[in-house]
Amino acid sequence: MNQVLVVAEHSAGRLNPATAKCVSCAAAIPDATIAVLVLAADGAAVAAQAAALNGVSRVLLASHPASEPALAAVLAPQIAKLAPGCSHVFGPSTTFGRDLMPRVAALLDAPQVSDVMAVDGAHRFRRPCYAGNAIATVEVDADRPVVATVRVASWQPAAAGGPAPVERVSADVALPAHTRFVSVSAGRNDRPDLQTAARVVSGGRALGSAENFALIQRFADRIAAAVGASRAAVDAGYAPNELQVGQTGKIIAPELYIAVGISGAIQHITGIKDARTIVAINKDPEAPIFEVADLGLVGDLFRIVPEIESLLAAS
C-alpha cells in the first residue's frame, strides 16, 4: 500500500487547480491511498474543496496563523512532521511547490523528483530535462519516502468525487521567525489564468513597446484567451514577469496557443510543447517557431492581427 500525501496550494480560500492535477498524478501510483494536506490560517473552505476531488480518501487540515501567506520555511517543518508513514509527498511544479518541496525533502532526508510528467511505477518516474530536449526515466530508492513536484501541464485535474472526511491535525513543531512575508503584487485577474486557460495568445520582442503589447491583450480578450509573453518581451518591460512562458517561466498546455512575433527559441518552445494546437505569426519564414507550429502565417503582425480581429467581428 502506498500512502501519498499531496500538499495543497491555495490562496484567498480557493484551492489552486494545480492541486487537482497532483491528485491525478498521485492516483497513478500503484495501490495508492491519497490524503491532501491543507496548511492554512483557517482552511476549512479549502479543505472542503480538496475533499470533493475524486480519489482523495481524506483531507488533513492543519490550521495555523503563521501558515498564510505561504512561506516555505514555515510550511516545510509542519509537512515533515506530518509526513511520517507516507511513501510519497507530492506538490505542484508551480513556484509554490518548487520553493517548498525541496525544503521538505531535505527535512525528510528523502530524494526529490522534480516535474513528474509520467508515473512508471511507485519508484519510477519520467521527467523532462535539458529544457525539454530529453525525457529522463528516474528511479529512486524505495527505502524512504519520495518527494516530488508534479508537472502541472502533464496532468488533467481530478474529477469531482467524494466528499472525503476532513480531519484536523496539528504539527507540534517550532516555526521559524527568520522569514517574513511583506507583500505580493498580483497582476490583473479579470483575464483567464495563463496556467489553466484553454487559449493563450503570447507576444514577443516584435511588439516593440508596452503600448503595442496592448494589441496582444485586445486580441486575447477578443477570443477569451489568457495573455502570455516571451522572455524578451518581459525583459523589455512590455509585459509583467508572471506572463512569461517557457523553461524559466510557465509551462502551459492550452488547447490553442498563438505565438505572435516570437522567434521560437528552445527555451520558449519548452513551455508550449504540450499545447494541442500551436499557431505562429511571424514575418520571418525561417523562424524556428514554424518548426513546431500546426498553423503558420508569414507576415507583419501589425497588419495580420487586426485583420484576424475584423474577420472574427464580421462573422
Binding site: T95, D99, R103, P128, N133, A134, S183, V184, V298
Partner: protein
C-alpha cells in the same frame, strides 16, 4: 562584513541544441561547448555587486563536478571572484549531493550569503538552494529578481506565479537567482590573466565527509515526442477558417 558563497555548475552551453545519444544512455557531449549555468553567472554578478557595495569582503565560488569544471571556476575568477573551490565528483551529481557539498563549505567558511541559480539548465531540478537552506536551517529566498540589504536582514523580491512577492529574510540566508536579477558583466582579457593567479582549491566529497551514493538514478534518456510540422497558410482569412474548422474559434 562577510563572505559570499556562490554555486557554479558546469553545464552544456544554453545555445547548444542538446541531443540524446541513440542508445539512450546519455546526452551527446563530444565537442559540445560547456559553460557556467546562466543563472549562476547572475548569482556571481550579484555577489560581486554585494562586495562592491561593501556588504561583503570576499566572494568564493564553488563547484561540484569533474576536473574540467576548473575551466568554469577560472571564468568565475576572471569575472571577479576572489577564490574558488572544486569539489570533485564524477558523473552528474544530483542536487542533494550539490547541497551537501555546499553545506560542508558553508560550515567551513561561514558565509553571510549563499547565492545559487534558481535552476541548473541541465537537470532543470530547481532544488539545490532550497535543500541547502533546509540543511543549514536558514531562510531561503528563491527566484529573486531584487535583493536589498538592510542591516541583518535582506528584502527580496521574488518572481512567483502570481506576480512579484516581497519577503524579508534574516541573514545568513540562501538566495536563488531569477534571470531579471541583473545582467552579468563581461570578462575582460587582462582579468583572465589575473585569474590564473587566484587560488583554486581542489577537494572531494570523501574529504568533506559526504557519502556520494546517489538516491536517484537516471535509467534512461529519450528524446521528447516530436511535434509534426504543420502547414503554412497564405493569409489571415485562411488562418481563421482553419481555426474554425478545428473548432478552436467560434
Amino acid at each position: 562584513m562577510g563572505k559570499v558563497l556562490v554555486g557554479i555548475k558546469r553545464v552544456i552551453d544554453y545555445n547548444v541544441r542538446v541531443r540524446v545519444r541513440p542508445d539512450g544512455t546519455g546526452i551527446v557531449t563530444d565537442g559540445v561547448k560547456m559553460s557556467i549555468n546562466p543563472f549562476d553567472e547572475i548569482a556571481l554578478e550579484e555577489a560581486l555587486r554585494l562586495r562592491e557595495r561593501g556588504a561583503a569582503d570576499e566572494v568564493i565560488v564553488a563547484s561540484l563536478g569533474p576536473d574540467d569544471a576548473q575551466q568554469q571556476l577560472r571564468t568565475a575568477l576572471a569575472m571577479g571572484a576572489d577564490r574558488a573551490i572544486l569539489v570533485r565528483a564524477d558523473g552528474a551529481p544530483e542536487p542533494m549531493l550539490a547541497a551537501r557539498a555546499l553545506f560542508a563549505l558553508v560550515q567551513r567558511e561561514q558565509p553571510t550569503f549563499v547565492i545559487v541559480g534558481k535552476q541548473a539548465i541541465d537537470d532543470d531540478a530547481s532544488q539545490t538552494g532550497q535543500l541547502l537552506a533546509a540543511l543549514w536551517d536558514r531562510p531561503q529566498a528563491t527566484f529573486a529578481s531584487k535583493i536589498e540589504l538592510s542591516g541583518a536582514s535582506a528584502r527580496v523580491t521574488r518572481e512567483v506565479d502570481a506576480g512579484l512577492e516581497v519577503i524579508d529574510v534574516d541573514l545568513p540566508a540562501v538566495f536563488t537567482t531569477d534571470l531579471r536579477l541583473n545582467e552579468p558583466r563581461y570578462v575582460k582579457l587582462p582579468d583572465i590573466m589575473k585569474a590564473k593567479k587566484k587560488p583554486l582549491d581542489v577537494t572531494d566529497l570523501a574529504t568533506l565527509g559526504i557519502d556520494a551514493t546517489p538516491r536517484q538514478r537516471v535509467v534512461r534518456l529519450e528524446p521528447p515526442a516530436q511535434r509534426q510540422k504543420g502547414v503554412i497558410v497564405k493569409d489571415a482569412a485562411e488562418l481563421v477558417a482553419a481555426l474554425k474548422q478545428k473548432g478552436l474559434l467560434a
